[in-house]
Amino acid sequence: MAFTNDEVLAGLAELITDETGISADEVALEKSFTDDLDIDSISMMTIVVNAEEKFGVTIPDDEVKNLKTVGDAVGYITSHQA
């Protein structure tokens, strides 16, 4: 079953809250993981691994560097679903 953009955003927000304590309300498509949400590289990797499991996608290390905003991650996940 493919997830919609809204479902991926909501699921990602949940994972970000679990890892960092940041309120899900603050997680929006235009937010930068580092500059706006202050998520460090280790937390980012934890979120990525949990997102892989939650959404059934593979996000290689080299791709993680390109995921600058929440929207980048949502876009990557929705376009790489099996």
């Binding site: 460090d40 590289s41 280790i42 980012m44 990797m45 934890t46 990525v48 691994v49 290390d61 993680v64």
Partner: protein, 333 residues
């Protein structure tokens, strides 16, 4: 008629008899190293859990640290040093490639002419050494072995590097391993993945340095990628080591992972679903990451702080540059 050759066999079981430890004599707080990396005490604590790291002075080398740790382990074991017939030193940082650290250590602790060799398995080196000592003794070609992890990493760091240098400390940890009436060292689950050799290691070769085409070689890592491998891939290895030993997480008294970074240790323990009863080694907080030395240093400290753990089961796992990894369950001495 041809003669049938003798092939040796040793005792059925081995165990760790005692640990020894030596740390660099200088306690280096975060504030002393944040300048060149434009960082802060808070940034380092939050990302690594490290408050201080121990580093050795100019007159102390990895051989000195290894000797002190090995001598303590032998003394605590009660085994006369002349009965030690194998000395294995895991190290990646001794700047003199040959002769080996191990031969000098064997001589200094009174174990001359023990078999002696160094091994390079980075942060998995001690667990590799335990696997080898266990096999050497059960194979009948050694009776008592000393396994040492020894590093003076401060010789191969770059103060301006933000990837790994600020994590690193100097120290040595040692264990004496000998025969046992009951199982004391579980099956080792070990391996490597050279396709990821570039994730951690030296940033240049000695010949490039000699030829003036590179600065003094120092350590670097791809932190996030190493983190992913060190937690989610290594958890599978840890589970295999538990299964191979016939041990459940509930059976463990302690978890002694390589002291790479507190964030790795915490996430690892979470993924492994260890019960609260398992004491987790946190030597990283004050010693830093000492590569091959970190597991025996952490185990030595755990037993100092929690003597009630003696006789309990500990899961130890090392992982690092290579990439290489090794895990086994041991009975704490």
């Amino acid at each position: 008629m041809s003669t049938t050759m003798i092939q040796p066999a040793g005792p059925a079981h081995t165990r760790i008899l005692a640990y020894g430890a030596a740390r660099g004599e200088n306690v280096v707080p975060n504030d002393d190293i944040v300048g060149p990396i434009d960082s802060s005490d808070e940034w380092i604590r939050q990302r690594t859990g490290i408050i201080t790291r121990t580093r050795a002075g100019a007159s102390t080398n990895a051989i000195d640290l290894a000797t002190d740790a090995a001598a303590e382990a032998v003394s605590r074991s009660g085994i006369p040093p002349e009965k030690i017939d194998a000395v294995i030193v895991a190290t990646i940082s001794n700047p003199k490639q040959t002769p080996s650290v191990s031969a000098i250590v064997a001589d200094r602790i009174g174990a001359n002419p023990a078999a002696a060799y160094d091994l390079n398995a980075a942060c998995a080196g001690f667990a590799y050494g335990v696997a080898q000592a266990d096999a050497l003794i059960r194979g009948g070609i050694a009776h008592y072995a000393v396994v040492v992890g020894a590093e003076k990493l401060s010789d191969i760091i770059d103060p301006t590097d933000r990837s790994i240098s600020f994590l690193l400390g100097d120290g040595a940890g040692a264990a004496v391993i000998g025969p046992s009436d009951t199982p004391g060292i579980g099956p080792t689950v070990w391996g490597s993945d050279g396709s990821k050799a570039d994730l951690v290691g030296m940033n240049a070769t000695m010949t490039e340095f000699r030829d003036g085409t590179a600065p003094w070689p120092t350590l670097r890592q791809e932190g996030p990628s190493v983190f992913r491998w060190a937690v989610w891939d290594m958890v599978k290895v840890a589970r295999e080591a538990l299964d191979a030993a016939g041990v459940e997480p509930d059976d463990l008294a302690a978890f002694v992972p390589h002291q790479a970074n507190l964030r790795i240790i915490d996430e690892f323990a979470k993924q492994l679903k260890l019960p609260d009863s398992v004491v987790i080694a946190h030597d990283i907080e004050t010693t830093g990451n000492t590569s091959a030395a970190s597991i025996p240093l952490a185990a030595h400290r755990l037993l100092e702080e929690h003597p009630e753990l003696s006789g309990g089961l500990a899961l130890q796992i090392g992982f690092g540059a290579g990439l290489v990894f090794a895990a086994q369950v041991v009975v704490l001495p």
